[in-house]
């Protein structure tokens, strides 16, 4: 395609992307460098049905004046990024100097909210993504091998987890693992421990969410792989059969290389999706044991009654950077292949 044609072809999409993705990201970025103005408070008398007290309120007149002068807030630079609820630079330095063993240092660091969330997010990505790829591929291969007559209903059944709304899916599982639910109660019986709870143990909650993640995302990988499998040429496979190649050898040497670009694509998309894990945490009411970066943003925006725009913006920016770092190896590789192909 000539460059000019491409430009006109891409223009509408490009404009929409700038408007709905680019500008909001820039706005979030700017927001993350600002904090609220110092609060002007005054002492007043407050009366309610239980009596009167003298206590403080925010002085709205003064605050409005300051806000009108500088609507963005107080410039804070990287202050929000480095505070204790984010990168916690000072705290980490302090821990490094104070703790005696490396283990104790790691303990202290992983107790900080941002790192706690980062570790869960990364663990989730690292377990869910490869398993989704593997499971999706296995399902696609098996379905490709069954008789055409029953393939339709089977495919429908397989993509069901993706059709079910994430929140509903996680709620169903949430009730099943309740200590009186079908899975929870049976595990208690099996382990002979009436105090065992999948929801109160951190490790078990993580495992539950990861299993849910795999269940929910596999159909996506399956659908893409299944489509790709339809394009695998039959001749080389027949030749391989005549040469006496086993099923495993055929998959390894013919099928996989053929659908390799699709695998990269699915890996990229899954990584991006998984890094933003959020719904299962809400669905499983797992805020206590598992927090992800997306959940931190949500928490800053809604959980406090007082909305922390600066904090939420800073975490958003770091999530974007995190995804970029995670995707970099795959992207670089794709770029290199693209160059050699030319």
């Amino acid at each position: 395609m000539p460059n000019k044609t491409f430009f006109w072809f891409f223009l509408p999409t490009g404009l929409a992307m700038i408007l709905f993705i680019g500008l909001p990201i820039i706005s979030t970025g700017i927001q993350s460098f600002y904090a609220q103005h110092d609060q002007v408070v005054k002492e007043v008398k407050k009366c309610d049905p239980f009596g009167c007290t003298v206590s403080i309120v925010v002085d709205n007149e003064e605050t409005t004046k300051i806000r009108d002068a500088k609507p963005l807030g107080k410039f804070n630079g990287f202050g929000t990024y480095t505070d204790r609820n984010h990168l916690a630079v000072d705290e980490i330095k302090k821990f490094w100097n104070e703790t005696e063993s490396f283990g104790a240092f790691v303990d202290q660091v992983t107790n900080l909210p941002f790192y706690k969330a980062l570790i869960f997010t990364l663990t989730y990505c690292l377990f869910v993504t490869p398993n989704v790829l593997l499971l999706g591929f296995i399902i696609a291969l098996s379905l490709n091998a069954v008789a055409r007559k029953i393939r339709g209903p089977l495919i429908f059944g397989t993509i069901l987890p993706m059709i079910v709304t994430p929140l509903v899916g996680s709620l169903v599982l949430f009730w099943m693992i309740d200590s009186q639910g079908i899975i929870g109660a049976n595990i208690q019986n099996l382990m002979n421990d009436p105090y065992l709870s999948l929801k109160s143990s951190k490790t078990l909650t993580w495992i539950t969410i990861i299993i849910y993640g795999i269940w929910h995302h596999s159909p996506f990988a399956f659908v893409v792989f299944y489509a790709a499998l339809q394009t695998v040429p039959q001749e080389p496979i027949e030749a391989a059969i005549i040469d006496g190649a086993s099923r495993f050898q055929r998959i390894k040497h013919i099928v996989l290389p053929h659908i390799y670009p699709v695998v990269t694509f699915v890996a990229l998309i899954s990584l991006m999706d998984n890094f933003r894990v959020f719904e299962p945490i809400i669905g499983f009411s797992a805020e206590g044991s598992a927090q992800s970066l997306s959940w931190l943003i949500y928490d800053n925006l809604v959980n406090e009654e007082v909305i922390l725009f600066g904090s939420a913006a800073a975490t958003s920016m770091m999530t974007i950077i995190g995804i970029a770092i995670l995707l970099a190896p795959v992207l670089i590789r794709t770029w290199k292949e693209f160059k050699t192909a030319r």
Partner: protein, 406 residues
């Protein structure tokens, strides 16, 4: 203390006329929490809507919607049913309007004691009081020969005895869901220990001390006597636990007593469900509970006509003797004409015992938020009480700095 009691009794038995209702125009849109008493209140105000447009959103997620919805201009809602804690963010952001003129013009039936005044201006009109108090199963306690607990130490002892007897595996329940609910339990218990959340005259946190540690230890003891899933249980979930007969002692909102004692569910459990005042803790003499009022506020970013229509409709409910007589079971109404029944025992006892109201401070929401997430690991046995309290203070300080309070 005595004054509060007198005020409350005055509230309950005072007299005056109905609010009049002849609304010709305007549009009314109300945001409220979701529990039976509030539904009754809003329904009552709807009766007087006249030809005004009337909409309502009942949601347990009301706290998350309120500030953004009222910040918009014109705001989505013309009124917000708020409580001591949720009025604070609205005040901080200057999102609600003073009601003095409207009270003078249309608030005939509203009693002075219902008015929430801040710096001399009426900012809300309260219509019900609420608190968390103890519920117990009379049959179970009688069988075991246990007296009705008055302190949390007795609650622990009683629960341990019930568990030891094999009658119930998890005899105690309270809303310990990580987040707002869990933090609320901490607030109650900390106040019961006589704690102050902030150093006098500043926004510096003041919870990492012996009182804080005692609070956490008591919460932990109680959590060990609860269903192991306690970190995911909110008020609704423990209500279900209670109705399934799994629990003998519970700390729950007074406003939920109506649904516990209704005709639905096992009649034997309902008959044995009894209410008593909130428990004290650690030898303190004030209850480990906070007093709450629920009242209505009007959005600032909305036309005067809408505000007027909304006020008139809500004032109709906030001074409605018929409503408080018909729905006497649902809440402790602050509206005149209310005769407290057996379901109001919790709140009345709490007031008699000198319970404190939930602190109405601009930075309290940040403290509440920090508590809700940082004490979880202590309850799970992953860190010490001191470390958890240190974390709460550190998390609070970062947020308070960003928000300009420190």
């Amino acid at each position: 203390m005595r004054k509060i009691l007198v005020t409350l009794l005055f509230l309950l038995f005072g007299t005056s006329a109905y609010a009049d209702c002849n609304i010709k125009s305007g549009s009314i849109n109300i945001l409220a929490n979701d529990f039976p008493a509030l539904r009754t209140f809003v329904e009552t105000s709807k009766q007087c809507k006249g030809s005004a447009d009337f909409k309502v959103t009942h949601s347990s997620e009301h706290n998350k919607i309120a500030v953004p919805a009222l910040t918009a201009n014109p705001s989505e809602f013309s009124a917000r049913i708020a409580a001591n804690s949720s009025i604070v963010p609205l005040m901080n952001q200057d999102l609600i309007r003073p009601l003095d003129d409207l009270v003078k013009k249309y608030g005939k039936g509203i009693q002075d004691s219902q008015l929430i005044t801040i710096d001399g201006k009426v900012m809300a009109v309260a219509f019900m009081a609420n608190t968390q108090h103890l519920y117990y199963r009379e049959d179970v306690l009688k069988d075991m020969g246990i007296a009705v607990p008055k302190t949390y130490e007795e609650v622990v002892a009683a629960s341990e005895k019930i568990r030891a007897s094999g009658k119930m595996k998890y005899p105690y329940a309270a809303a310990y869901k990580a987040g707002w609910n869990l933090a609320e339990e901490f607030v109650n218990m900390f106040i019961g220990h006589g704690g102050e959340f902030f150093k006098a005259g500043s926004a510096q946190p003041n919870i990492n001390n012996a009182k804080g540690v005692a609070t956490l230890n008591m919460l932990k003891k109680l959590s060990e006597l609860s269903n192991p899933d306690y970190l995911t249980h909110d008020s609704e979930a423990i209500k279900v636990e209670w109705e399934s007969g799994n629990v003998a002692l519970m700390t729950l909102w007074a406003s939920r007593s109506g649904t516990l004692l209704d005709d639905e569910g096992d009649a034997k459990i309902t008959a044995a469900t009894k209410l008593t005042g909130p428990a004290t803790v650690g030898g303190g003499n004030i209850p480990a509970a906070t007093l709450w009022w629920d009242g209505f506020t009007l959005a600032k970013n909305r036309s005067d006509a809408d505000a007027e229509a909304t006020f008139r409709a809500l004032a109709h409910a906030a001074s409605n003797k018929k409503m408080v007589a018909d729905a006497a079971d649902q809440a402790v109404w602050l509206v005149e004409g209310f005769v407290p029944g057996p379901k109001s025992i919790g709140v009345i006892e709490a007031v008699k015992m000198g319970a404190k109201p939930y602190p109405m401070l601009p930075q309290m929401g940040l403290m509440h938020g920090a508590l809700g997430s940082e004490i979880v690991e202590f309850l799970q046995g992953k860190e010490s009480a001191e470390q958890a309290l240190k974390d709460v203070e550190a998390a609070y300080i970062s947020k308070a700095k960003e928000q300009g309070f420190l």
